[in-house]
């Protein structure tokens, strides 16, 4: 099984990985405190936190009505406009209490600006889009993002935007090859250090999806 995956990865140039994920949020007024704390906790404490400003588009390909639509997440940096990133994530495993984080399989690929056209050509349709602005930190292989999500008032217009909530989304994630449960423990410990500022938790995605439909 594992060898198959590896062969496939070598052939296709795409490696299947697992993403371990914890999510939380911080109200805007306390965001600076959190950023300050993250600067202290994470690597490169002496340099300014790395900012990002992305436009995310979510495309899906619907097969027959019985089938689950295939969804991909496309991110386009508005700072470095030639940076496009396409990501596919599998369904999220919530797991039991012994598992510290959410786990989902994911595939990350760097793409070029023709991706939108390509996706449209093969039948993908834009589902929704938003703008994410925020900071990015890393500590070892852990990645922390603090992002403010904006609703786009006009489709495709990244300048005409309104904040979605009064909070910023905080995500702690690690992407590793299959089968490294130790990561969850590290992440839990890191999340502990951000309390009580942010409660990073396993957010049940299935429940969220049910609530949305």
């Amino acid at each position: 099984m594992y060898m198959d995956q590896l062969n496939q990865a070598v052939k296709g140039g795409i490696a299947p990985f697992h993403e371990y994920l914890l999510q939380g949020s911080i109200v805007d007024s306390s965001k600076d405190v959190l950023v300050h704390r993250l600067r202290g906790l994470c690597d490169n404490a002496d340099s300014n936190p790395e900012a990002f400003h992305d436009h995310e588009m979510i495309f899906s390909l619907k097969g027959s009505p019985q089938q689950q639509p295939m969804t991909v997440y496309l991110r386009h940096s508005l700072i470095q406009t030639d940076c496009w990133h396409l990501r596919y994530v599998g369904s999220t495993e919530f797991g039991d209490k012994t598992r510290q984080t959410l786990v989902r399989s994911c595939v990350d690929i760097g793409v070029s600006d023709s991706i939108v056209k390509f996706l449209n050509e093969i039948g993908f349709k834009l589902e929704y889009e938003f703008v994410a602005k925020g900071y990015f930190f890393h500590k070892g292989r852990m990645k922390v993002t603090v992002s403010k999500l904006f609703k786009m008032n006009i489709q495709g217009d990244v300048n005409n935007i309104d904040p979605l909530t009064l909070s910023c989304l905080v995500e702690l994630s690690v992407v590793v090859p299959t089968g490294q449960e130790q990561v969850g423990e590290d992440m839990k410990n890191f999340a502990e250090q951000l309390k009580p500022l942010v409660q990073l938790e396993k957010v049940d995605h299935r429940r969220q999806q049910q609530a949305a439909t």
């Binding site: 949020s25 405190v33 349709k125 834009l126 489709q155 495709g156 989304l169």
Partner: protein
């Protein structure tokens, strides 16, 4: 009479037990201080002190309890003094006392305080006796006043602190579960992002790509037809949803 003796014996036994416990823990603490001072940490030292204070307390309780006959009424008199080393005594005292002779006995059996201490106490007693009733009353009043003032200050400060801490504990609502859920479901399912969107074709960025795309094939055509074509095409721009 016999009953009292029995009681005394029992209370002595329990006293000895308490005292030896106390002695052991003091010994253990000293040992720790001498041998483990490099690794000894503050909490464990505090634990030791807490143990000592607990044992002292229980010893005090034994002494005060009703079952113990008043020890002040008991007489203790040395029956035999001996100048030679006493092996038995050495064992009993764990090597601290070798003789029970004329020099040591008075020291161990004394009931009076040390002379220096006694002198100091005497001084205080005479001083207290010299003050008149009136003066005493005055001083007492003064002391009461100062004490009550102090109590007031302490109480008010404590109230302030309590208020502050309660404010602090109520204040930091730095994250909200509803917002977390809203944000996560927005990224996952587009909840809150799909609705209320006007789809105006004039959107600069998306529109531009479309414009170029359309203009190319229509360059050769008449200007009027370009206009209509742009309008017609702008409805279906590349990110169109179904």
């Amino acid at each position: 009479m016999q009953k009292e003796e029995k009681q005394l014996e029992m209370s002595l036994e329990s006293m000895i037990q308490r005292v030896s416990e106390l002695k052991n823990s003091i010994g253990a603490l000293i040992f720790k201080l001498e041998h483990e001072y490099e690794t000894l940490n503050w909490p464990s030292l505090l634990d030791n002190f807490a143990l000592l204070s607990g044992q002292l307390n229980s010893l005090g309780r034994v002494l005060k309890s009703d079952k113990v006959p008043s020890l002040k009424n008991q007489l203790l008199l040395p029956l035999l003094l001996h100048p030679d080393p006493d092996e038995n005594l050495r064992k009993l005292t764990e090597g601290r006392l070798l003789f029970f002779n004329h020099e040591i006995a008075p020291n161990y059996l004394r009931t009076k305080l040390e002379p220096e201490v006694e002198e100091k106490t005497q001084q205080l007693v005479t001083k207290a006796q010299q003050t008149t009733q009136e003066q005493t009353q005055k001083q007492l009043n003064n002391l009461n006043k100062v004490t009550s003032n102090l109590l007031d200050i302490i109480n008010s400060t404590r109230e302030e602190w309590d208020n502050e801490s309660s404010q602090k504990s109520s204040q930091p609502q730095t994250s909200s579960l509803t917002d977390t859920n809203a944000l996560v479901s927005a990224t996952l399912t587009g909840k809150g992002l799909k609705s209320n969107r006007t789809r105006l074709p004039e959107s600069p960025q998306a529109g531009m790509q479309q414009l170029q795309k359309i203009q190319n094939p229509s360059i050769s055509k008449a200007p009027s037809s370009i206009k209509t074509q742009i309008k017609a095409a702008s409805g279906g721009h590349p990110y169109q949803r179904t």
